[in-house]
């Protein structure tokens, strides 16, 4: 590992934030509402708590195998042969995450602004932009992700503007949905919070004390959870509970009605900024994927894998056409991503700990 590729803690913080905030933010309130009704924001907070466990596992793994990406230490934990299989599975999972990001991005863009532009073109412009962006080191990616982070404030202010016309009473009564539904809603919330798993590769590049790394990732995901919570809560008190069921992208819809003296249709501006966040989360996932492909094919540099990864993702992503197809894909990939990104690291950690114990035991006997 080249020492000039390392990233700082501050950069890691923004990398995690930028990977987590992505496609999900526009439709999150809607998906949450479908299960937990107006208490969706509580599910989100719970989900935020759950992912801390996964984060802990990821951090522990990376602490046990410092300066190595997940593809390097899987074979060490489970053995070479099984390791290769798991690596392949994990790369397939990463591919599917990239694909679903592209699919959801396309479905929103084609619904809101590009009605006639061919699917493949809309997807390709994003994919190729990202391919250009990942043909460099982790450090430069981290720099860029940090550079665009102030845009988060812009998003925040746009959403906060909705408070000029909210009905606080819509959020009441709190907790009406019951704990069970709230809990079941948090699995959907988990999917939208995914992105912290990119730490599995970026942690390898981070320098500094191990404890503060954990702090940085936890804070990052806490910030994202709170931001999402703010967005969700705002839409819940802007829209009537009956209305939100028919509005799949409540955040955009909400902004559509706002107009400032110098600019109208703020949703178009919001959408443009949102594209940046989609790009950043795709950049980190594509980088992750390219790193995986590099390890699998024993390439010298992930650069050479990047174009193929990007174009394959784009081609697959342009397959599903109708809204129902998109729903099916996102449900399937969402579930698999949930398993691979948040549960898999925990299992991996358990195996690793078990192995270490055993080794220790073997040595002592």
């Amino acid at each position: 590992m080249n020492s000039s590729h390392t990233i700082t803690h501050r950069q890691l913080f923004f990398v995690i934030i930028q990977s987590q905030i992505g496609v999900g933010v526009l439709s999150l309130p809607y998906t949450l509402f479908a299960k937990a009704k107006t208490d969706g924001w509580i599910s989100l907070l719970l989900a935020g708590l759950f992912i801390q466990i996964s984060i802990l596992a990821i951090w522990k793994l990376c602490e046990m195998y410092p300066k190595q990406t997940i593809f390097d230490f899987i074979p060490k934990i489970v053995g070479t042969k099984l390791g290769v299989v798991l690596n392949i599975l994990f790369v397939v999972h990463l591919f599917s995450v990239c694909v679903i990001i592209l699919i959801l991005y396309n479905s929103i863009v084609s619904k809101w602004i590009f009605f006639q532009t061919p699917r493949l073109v809309v997807i390709l412009i994003l994919a190729l932009t990202c391919v250009y962006c990942i043909t460099c080191t982790a450090r430069e990616i981290a720099r860029f992700l940090m550079l665009v982070s102030p845009l988060l404030l812009v998003l925040f202010f746009f959403v906060a503007y909705a408070y000029s016309d909210v009905h606080l009473l819509y959020a009441f009564p709190v907790g009406a949905a019951g704990i069970k539904t709230i809990l079941s809603g948090s699995s959907d919330a988990l999917i939208s919070l995914l992105g912290f798993d990119t730490a599995l590769v970026f942690l390898a590049y981070t320098q500094g004390r191990s404890n503060s790394k954990l702090k940085v990732i936890s804070y990052a995901s806490l910030c994202v959870t709170l931001f999402y919570c703010f967005v969700t809560f705002t839409t819940y008190i802007f829209f009537n509970p009956v209305e939100i069921v028919i509005v799949p992208e409540p955040v955009l819809y909400m902004l559509k009605a706002f107009s400032f003296k110098i600019l109208e249709r703020t949703d178009l501006i919001f959408l443009s900024i949102w594209i940046v966040f989609v790009t950043t989360s795709l950049i980190s996932y594509l980088f992750f994927t390219a790193k995986g492909v590099q390890t699998l094919f024993k390439l010298k540099h992930h650069k050479s894998a990047a174009p193929y990864v990007g174009i394959i993702c784009a081609l697959i992503a342009s397959i599903p056409g109708s809204k129902l197809d998109v729903q099916l894909w996102s449900k399937l990939i969402g579930m698999s991503a949930l398993c691979c990104s948040s549960l898999f690291p925990i299992f991996l950690l358990l195996i690793a700990i078990f192995r270490k114990r055993k080794e220790k035991g073997a040595v002592s006997t």
Partner: protein
């Protein structure tokens, strides 16, 4: 050709050629390896007559007709001396004043050898015969006597320099109005005048096998990072070409990415700017016969600073610096934004404005992209024409081009008047960028943005910006990050990039160029405020 010693590298290459030319004894002997040279020289020269030597010199200059030889009879002992010089680059008045007049006043007690010590510092006794050609090319007049162990050189350069004047493209309102000229030594003098420090180091390098362009590398020995110095030197010395004529040649050979639109070294003609940047730890490259000085390594924001900022009150300085950065975005994005709005997202236009805009566009036959391209190209044409023409005609062109074409094109209904406003604003914004190279980069950059906007609306602009910013993030200037205080983010370094804080706040140097001394040792506010 190969009579005199060449730089080491060339010497090795030419060795074979030299071997062949051995029949001319003097030339071959003197170009052989240094160690045994001096002894042999002495032997050879003693047997050799002046005439032979002169013939050899003439041959080595391929009988160029401005190589002049004069024989002068010394009044004292009636011995003959030969004066040899390149007629085209020496000052004859000086020749007369410095050599001929004193020569005739010599008497028996004082000969040429003592003369050197008495009269003129430019009058030197030389023993190294390998340097003859070089000295001649550097406007020296050489004097050969019968004594063949040594000769004398007098520096008689012709003054071809212009006066020091303010550079046209970097004028300031307050502050020094001095600018560099085409003489390297004057330029170094101008810098030394501002940095009277023994830590200011000048290092001469030479590139170009035939042009022998002199490059002076200036830096502060206690501030500039040795790694960067080494890198700059390594890149310059590795240039291997027959001719290196312009600073642009060198720039392109040493910058990190030639395929980037953004300039990676800062060119300036202002000594105060160079001095300030030297103090921040940068390296300055001065060239023979070029008023341009290149500074490296640089970051993006250096191109938006002007010396004027530091002579204004700091809030004004900050304000105008922000205006300049803003103008960068205007120059890149305004036409694209306009195109995106009128051909994709006119929902964004406020209600009160929409009918106004629509009525201005109503009868325009061309799509906005075409309109914009035509107008932008027209402006570039006017600019290019105005540069080539003398100033007086230039202004006429500006009036004819700007006013007459602009007005007529709207009246004829070819281009909407809104587009004229947009294009004109963009042009002004592009010229607001203080650095000429950056301004050119900006002007070229807006065309891809316009095309992207016309194809994908806002989305196209956003993707364009993402690619541009990513490019800036991954660009390096001599190993230092180009987009420095923003990516990587250093809040302390923002004080002299986007804004300019008061002088007493600037106590540390920007860290992107990794200066050896971070602390500037500034205590400008040592007095206590009562």
């Amino acid at each position: 050709m190969t009579f005199f010693k060449k730089p080491k590298k060339l010497l090795e290459q030419k060795q074979t050629v030299i071997e062949k030319e051995k029949e001319s004894s003097s030339s071959s002997q003197q170009t052989s390896v240094k160690k045994s040279q001096s002894e042999q020289d002495a032997n050879v020269n003693q047997h050799q007559s002046i005439n032979d030597l002169l013939n050899d010199i003439e041959k080595s200059f391929s009988s160029s007709e401005d190589l002049m030889t004069h024989w002068v009879e010394m009044p004292a002992d009636k011995s003959k001396v030969a004066l040899i010089f390149l007629d085209s680059i020496i000052d004859k008045q000086k020749l007369q004043d410095l050599i001929l007049n004193p020569l005739f006043e010599l008497d028996k007690d004082i000969d040429l050898h003592t003369f050197e010590k008495v009269i003129n510092i430019d009058f030197k006794k030389q023993t190294d015969f390998t340097k003859i050609q070089e000295l001649l090319l550097q406007s020296y007049t050489l004097i050969f006597t019968k004594d063949s162990t040594c000769f004398f050189s007098v520096f008689t350069p012709i003054k071809t320099e212009r006066d020091i004047s303010e550079p046209d493209n970097e004028a300031v309102i307050r502050g020094s109005h001095e600018g560099f000229i085409e003489s390297m030594s004057t330029n170094i003098a101008l810098i030394r005048k501002r940095l009277k420090s023994q830590k200011l180091v000048v290092k001469y390098l030479k590139v170009g096998k035939e042009t022998h362009t002199n490059i002076a590398m200036l830096y502060m020995s206690d501030i500039a990072n040795p790694e960067i110095l080494h890198e700059v030197e390594r890149r310059i010395t590795s240039i291997e070409a027959d001719s290196v004529m312009t600073p642009g040649n060198i720039e392109e050979s040493i910058e990190d990415r030639t395929f980037s639109l953004f300039p990676q070294t800062l060119s300036t003609e202002r000594p105060d700017r160079v001095a300030a940047n030297l103090m921040e730890g940068r390296v300055a490259l001065l060239y023979d016969s070029s008023p341009t000085v290149n500074l490296a390594p640089v970051n993006f924001f250096v191109f938006f600073q002007t010396p004027d900022d530091y002579n204004k009150r700091w809030m004004l300085g900050s304000f105008y610096r922000m205006i300049r950065l803003f103008s960068f975005f205007i120059a890149i994005g305004l036409p694209a934004f306009y195109i995106a709005i009128v051909s994709f997202h006119y929902e964004v236009i406020p209600s009160a404005l929409i009918l106004l805009m629509k009525s201005s566009l109503e009868n325009i036959p061309y799509p906005p992209l075409f309109e914009a391209l035509v107008m932008e190209l027209t402006i570039e044409l006017i600019r290019e024409a105005a540069i080539r023409l003398p100033t007086r005609i230039g202004s006429t062109i500006a009036i004819v081009g700007g006013l007459v074409i602009g007005d007529a094109v709207v009246k004829a209904g070819l281009i909407s008047n809104l587009m004229i406003i947009v294009v004109a604003t963009t042009a002004i914004a592009a010229y607001t960028v203080p650095s000429n190279e950056m301004s050119l980069a900006v002007r070229l950059l807006r065309f891809p943005f316009m095309v992207a906007a016309a194809t994908f609306g806002f989305l196209g602009i956003v993707f364009g910006l993402i690619i541009m910013f990513f490019h800036l993030c991954r660009l390096y200037s001599f190993g230092t990050p180009y987009f420095a205080p923003l990516a990587p983010f250093k809040i302390g370094d923002l004080k002299d990039t986007i804004i300019r804080l008061p002088f007493f706040k600037m106590n540390s140097r920007p860290s992107d160029i990794k200066p050896l001394k971070k602390d500037e040792d500034n205590h400008t506010r040592k007095w206590e405020k009562s």
